[in-house]
Symmetry: C3
Subunit: 267 residues, 3 copies
């Protein structure tokens, strides 16, 4: 399968090239995100000061913007970083954590999408519906809508902004407006620890750092992360142990596991 | 025992209803706090921007304010969030980390208590004595006073502010000014990792999200967390392993363990 | 060996005296740094508000400044804290994370060194070269230069600022301008998790909190941390498990392990 080979090649390239992923992300997940990227083989950097984001973006292979613990000064830095990425043709991943929960988050997510081209918008169903302006319910930063409910909205957003949209949930859905992929990897334990959505976005950034095809990057990231989650969930650990094993699995996951376990339906 | 049944029922309700606990807390413990709440079955959200705290509080079942890494703009958000909680009758837990260590923290803790009604003040002995205006020594954010030394001050504070005060230490003490509970659960390893006091406050928030009785909520939270700590400490792990097992234990703790292990003296 | 005895005595004193280490550090590593210090036996506190840093420094046995996720207001607090430490003769450790990656970081690192006396500058090779004004390449916050390339620059900086410089890498190098130590402890897994450089700086702060000899403190910290890393790496764990075991090893490391495993060459 071509897609599976591309995923394996992406993992290999991340482990060889160590793409630098510049994250402007939330306080809750910074440590875990950095460890996720390191476990996968990428090189993380976190920097949010308005004085340096432009320069830091210039060193990076991908930029990941996550609005999970937003505040005014951070939004200015995020916008500046996104514009700097545009000027240097560096791929941008946006994670609109909690869009729909508050107007502040919904509006910031939309502002970032309008600021400059985005390679991948990675979100849950509720966030996608909120950004699309469709009334949806959220529970804080957790999705109430399934990823299925947001598929049409995701396609529309993908077309409007000429970007890839990745909607994660029990099933993941990736679209660039014409192509679509449904991914059935992952494990329910992934929703029992904080930061798995944010990690999916960061890993998408790592894949974007080694391939120009943002659709393939998003699919590759979600399949890889999902399979790592399945491996980590073997023997049914508690959530604390699962978090540790997830990092171990990202480090250890091999092409054979991707080939055997990937469940992707393209159309 | 009525209290034990109430605790078991509280855990069950948290696992069924997944109360949304809005945390405005410190950078050090955000990740661990979120994972503690998820392991227990609650739904955490962190949001501190002045632009959105009011709206986020409106979605929450409880608000937990923790001053562990304070700064000016955060205090304004905390005060606004506490007032929003009052207007919507959402229970508030305050954790005055490091009160007594610096005037800034002592004054902020007092300001928050004066801002709007607080359901539970969860603190260590030194912090309680400092807020009560009794000269006490602290060592950074760690208590030098035992919880015993702060019991009278806790009772007075409980009466003054019509709130429940929970003083944690080798023995925990909970009072609403008339009722008191002494809890002898927990394990010394809990003081060998960061964020256990903050976690106790967050768990108190989760219990407040499913019961109107703040005294029962505080007792339930401290008994549950203490017993999880005892389970996690079996086989005498190192502090790194203990932290992982504590999350596993919060996820796995059963009514039978609460019934067998709880050591609460009410008066 | 005198140095080995001094290291063992330092560990013993940290476990007995629990020196309070005041950290103004980056968001990514705050939790891990606090747990590292607790595992070793020290007492961590994080406080960055301009309103309280001076008072908090006054309670501390050492101050650790880390510029990993810098912003304007934090720099002001760092400068104020460093001056307060000078006035109270409290040792200061500076960790110039990412110096050389952006001008903002290089200039802030230099400003801090000029603000007041620093006991130990703990950095990687690229950061040392950048601060010394020698053209070097960095990859975000990771060093591209080996610690060997930065040894002459480290000696010059040590003399210029009358401080100890500790350059970590595959081999660690410590100098006060005249004395030097080369340390061959540690394990490659330490670069597969985030925050090990920052932890080395924090542990250096703990050692500075119990000895007046900053050179011995830096050597002691790097040997202890390196040996803990070697212990944690036994059985070749994945990076998630390694992080957990590193905390366990810091808690458990005994004088016998230091005596048997330390690989320090003094000159």
């Amino acid at each position: 399968m071509k897609m599976v080979e591309e995923i394996c090649s992406g993992i290999e390239q991340i482990r060889t090239l160590h793409p630098l992923v510049h994250n402007i992300t939330n306080y809750v997940v910074m440590n875990f995100t950095a460890n996720v990227l390191l476990a996968l083989g990428a090189s993380p950097v976190m920097a949010h000061a308005i004085e340096e984001v432009e320069e830091m973006v210039g060193l990076a292979n991908a930029l990941v913007i996550n609005i999970g613990t937003l505040s005014g000064p951070w939004i200015d830095s995020m916008a500046k970083a996104v514009r700097a990425a545009r000027d240097r043709s560096i791929p941008v991943v946006v994670d609109p954590v909690g869009a729909g929960a508050t107007r502040f988050r919904t509006e910031t997510a939309r502002r970032l999408l309008g600021e400059a081209p985005v390679a991948v918008l990675r979100a849950n169903g509720s966030e996608i519906l909120a950004i699309a302006g469709i009334k949806a319910t959220t529970k804080g930063v957790d999705s109430v809508a399934g990823s299925e409910d947001a598929r049409e909205a995701a396609k529309e957003l993908a077309k409007t902004y000429a970007m890839v949209v990745a909607v994660t949930g029990a099933e993941d859905f990736v679209t660039d407006g014409s192509r679509t992929a449904v991914i059935r990897n992952g494990h329910p334990l992934m929703s029992r620890i904080t930061g798995t959505g944010c990690s999916a976005s960061a890993i998408t950034g790592a894949f974007c750092g080694v391939t120009k095809d943002a659709f393939a990057a998003a699919v590759g990231a979600l399949v890889t992360f999902g399979i790592a989650g399945e491996i980590a969930a073997r023997e049914n650990p508690g959530p604390g142990s699962f978090q540790v094993r997830l990092l171990d699995a990202l480090d250890a996951v091999e092409s054979s596991a991707i080939t055997e376990c990937s469940r992707v339906a393209l159309s």
